[in-house]
């Protein structure tokens, strides 16, 4: 199909042909022609955010909860620079996003024109790829390629910068084509011999562990299905990164909980003591490995990743397999079935016995109180009271995020949206807007901290405009909790600027945004308040006043190995002060 139309019409046609239904954006001078086309159609629904960072996070939430590509439309200059945080976030967490930015007319590029910035220059290191379109006849090809690059291989954000004169110019629309990209070839299947070797190693393992990550979720529902099949087939224990939660059901007996800095005692100890590690779609991030020279000593490592550059980046592995998780898992299952191996049952029994001992340590235990709500308790109750609902969780970044990962359990993928790699405070509300847009009848909750949430609070106004009944569940301790926790660990409890002295009245704030505010500070009133929140068909800000000094444990202090965890229930103040060595303090 090819037809002559304006650049702006080409944009809309390309989005239509890509099956885009929702787009998150903010108008401005350099995208007015595209907005004019949006006005004259009703197929594509545009969501007007209140800040461009919010547009990208909303698109990320949309993408992660649906598996589709999230689409953003912003103007030149500040529109593009405001989007940079979101783009970097999407790059770090491998989220497919296409961000269309307006640009000043071609003849003004380089002239320091009004609202001009070097968008492709600025976004080059924070996108998977980007384009500046200088010929209207290239526009449709570039847009279709942008979607292909964003969603294929290791997904990521792609920027298409379109000067205003190109939006007005008449050109030829070339439809979707199946032609192969000239240089970009994402990996799909793993090397058969490597898969054979991996299965061989797995079959002989005495203390095996699966360590999985966001790659399994990004790969799609098939990968999740295959992972479950393989894990159950082998009977081996499984842990996952923050990004991978939900790929394997948390309610299953083989599940050890999350690993890493705030992971469970059983998961981290099993990682440390394992003899065969099967890493699928995770990237040995520093929050996972802790001290690298003491990371899983004596283990053989298998690493499945679609991105070759993730392999041997931080940790040397023995069997690398480059490929898409779903395909490689499929290959592994076939190889395992063909081999029908005799696993070392006696050793596995001992291994599970050891794991049960670690589990018995009850690392997530905390002291419940009657006078004040413990943040962990608030999330436990939120989890318990939402079991009969179709729930999606987003988070901000900090202690509440880790508590959410520890105490809110996920049995399905795509239900957990959090900023893992970049750690972007302010991710949660706009992400919830995007998720709710995609799932209008589901219960979408942003588990938040009172500091993070103020970074993008204006998106409450977006929620109000589109009747999106998102729930913002704030664990309010008046501190930037994780900053305060680190100040206790590293800086003698000197709380430099981590206390917010003038917080808004969140109930009134909710009302100002045409939502509903609920405040609770007594454990005895918590359940009723949560039920009231769930029943409210409007955006809600839930101001849950929690213990101001609770810290997030267990924890691998910086500079330590997996088997040196700080546990929450038996720490003295002195333990906390001495947890990190003098040398370790510098490095965090």
């Amino acid at each position: 199909m090819s037809a002559s139309m304006t650049g702006a019409q080409i944009v809309l046609q390309a989005l239509a042909d890509q099956g885009v239904e929702h787009i998150f954006g903010y108008p401005g001078g350099a995208v007015l022609p595209i907005y004019d086309e949006l006005y004259q159609q009703d197929r594509l629904k545009h969501v007007l955010v209140r800040h461009e960072q919010g547009a990208v996070h909303a698109a990320e939430g949309y993408a992660r909860s649906t598996g589709k590509v999230g689409v953003v439309l912003v103007t030149s200059g500040p529109g593009a620079t405001n989007a940079v945080t979101g783009l970097t976030d999407a790059l770090m967490d491998s989220i497919p996003v296409v961000c269309i930015t307006g640009q000043v007319p071609t003849h003004l590029i380089g002239n320091d024109a009004f609202q001009e910035c070097d968008t492709v220059g600025i976004t080059r290191p924070c996108t998977k790829h980007n384009y500046l379109v200088k010929d209207v006849n290239q526009l449709s090809t570039v847009l279709h390629e942008a979607f292909y690059v964003a969603r294929s291989g290791r997904p990521g954000p792609v920027v298409v910068d379109i000067p205003k004169d190109i939006q007005f110019a008449e050109g030829i629309y070339a439809g979707l084509s199946n032609s192969q990209h000239k240089s970009y070839r994402p990996a799909v299947n793993g090397d058969e011999r490597a898969v054979e070797a991996a299965v061989e190693l797995m079959a002989k393992a005495k203390r095996p562990i699966f360590y999985t990550g966001g790659g399994v979720i990004n790969s799609g529902p098939l990968a999740t299905e295959r992972l479950r099949e393989l894990v159950r087939m082998t009977g081996y224990p499984i842990t996952s990164t923050l990004m991978g939660l939900g790929a394997y059901p948390a309610s299953d007996k083989q599940w050890l909980g999350m690993l890493g800095m705030h992971g469970t005692y059983e998961a981290n100890n099993a990682m440390h003591d394992c003899d065969v590690m099967i890493c699928i779609g995770a990237r040995f991030d520093d929050r996972i490995t802790g001290r690298i020279d003491a990371f899983a000593p004596g283990s053989k490592k298998i690493h499945v990743d679609i991105d070759r550059s993730s392999i041997n980046k931080n940790v040397q592995v023995d069997i690398p397999i480059v490929g898409d998780c779903a395909h490689v898992l499929d290959q592994m299952i076939s190889a395992w079935k063909a081999k029908n191996p005799k696993v070392d049952r006696a050793s596995l029994k001992t291994w599970w016995g050891q794991i049960d001992k670690w589990r018995a340590r009850k690392c997530l235990h905390y002291k419940k109180r009657d006078d004040v709500i413990m943040p962990q308790y608030a999330i436990e109750r939120l989890y318990a009271l939402t079991r009969d609902r179709d729930v999606y969780i987003t988070t901000e970044v900090g202690q509440h995020q880790m508590w959410a990962a520890q105490f809110f359990h996920f049995d399905e993928p795509n239900r957990w949206m959090t900023s893992g790699g970049l750690g972007t405070m302010g991710y949660g509300i706009p992400a919830a807007v995007g998720v709710q847009m995609a799932h209008p009848d589901s219960l979408v909750i942003d588990i938040a901290g009172e500091a993070s949430v103020l970074m993008t609070m204006q998106e409450m106004s977006t929620a109000a405009q589109y009747d999106l009944p998102i729930k913002i569940f704030i664990l309010n301790n008046e501190y930037m909790g994780m900053v305060r926790q680190w100040q206790e660990l590293l800086h003698g409890g000197r709380y430099s600027h981590s206390y917010t002295e003038a917080l808004p009245d969140f109930v009134k704030l909710a009302e100002a945004y045409q939502g509903v505010g609920i405040r609770v500070d007594k454990p005895s009133e918590l359940d009723d308040a949560i039920l009231e929140m769930i029943a409210t068909p409007k955006p809600v800000i839930f101001d849950c006043r929690v213990d101001k000094h609770a810290n997030c444990f267990p924890m691998i202090p910086s500079g330590e190995a997996h088997n040196h965890m700080l546990m929450g229930d038996d720490l003295t103040e002195e333990d906390i002060e001495n947890a990190i060595t003098e040398e370790g303090k510098v490095m965090v």
């Binding site: 492709v120 220059g121 080059r124 290191p125 998977k128 790829h129 500046l132 690059v149 291989g153 290791r154 990209h181 000239k182 240089s183 970009y184 800095m261 520093d286 929050r287 490995t289 802790g290 001290r291 690298i292 020279d293 003491a294 991105d307 070759r308 550059s309 392999i311 041997n312 980046k313 931080n314 040397q316 691998i556 910086s558 500079g559 330590e560 190995a561 060595t581 003098e582 040398e583 370790g584 510098v586 490095m587 965090v588």
Partner: protein
């Protein structure tokens, strides 16, 4: 002394840095060089030499030759990071293939008279440098060859009135009949 570990790894692996020559085939499109250079600066890799030119005009393909140093782990990272850039067709580590043919061109300006001038001319002949410009007060030599030869030549010209040097950086190709 125990090494202070960290969530951010600070234990430097005691591996010797190696020098590698990589040949990168890219689409000759705006920004492609910036992508490559940005990757090196953004991730803290070294560039010792960089040579770029379009080599296949009809296909709009350019060849970038990069000389870089790093531990074996870093060299592997550089190759893989380059390989995943969208407009990059192929990355070949010529050093791994073994003994690539490497050449560089330098233009060397030397000024002087008398004994020094004739010594410069004599050395230029010995090194097969060509005279591309001359006056009674100066010579401009063009010299091609391995980097070590060019280094030597420049060192020899130093006391003989070396004014300035311009070098192209390394161009390299693998031996044998096969394509890179």
């Amino acid at each position: 002394m125990t090494q202070p570990g960290s969530a951010y790894s600070l234990d430097k692996i005691e591996e010797k840095p190696e020098t590698h020559t990589m040949s990168v085939l890219v689409d000759n499109e705006p920004g492609v060089l910036a992508r490559v250079i940005g990757l090196f600066s953004g991730r803290g890799y070294n560039i010792e030499s960089l040579t770029v030119s379009e080599t296949e005009h009809e296909a709009h393909l350019s060849r970038i030759t990069i000389v870089t140093t790093g531990t074996p782990m870093v060299i592997e990272q550089i190759k893989n990071q380059l390989d995943r850039l969208v407009p990059i067709h192929s990355v070949t580590d010529l050093t791994v293939l073994g003994d690539p043919i490497e050449r560089e061109l330098a233009i060397v300006k030397v000024a002087g008279t008398g004994e020094k001038r004739s010594e410069a001319l004599r050395l230029a002949e010995a090194y097969e440098a060509e005279i591309v410009d001359a006056s009674p007060e100066h010579f401009v030599f063009e010299i091609t060859g391995r980097q070590s030869k060019i280094e030597q030549f420049i060192t020899l010209m130093q006391p003989l009135g070396l004014v300035e040097v311009c070098r192209t950086g390394l161009a390299a190709i693998a031996r044998g009949a096969g394509q890179m």
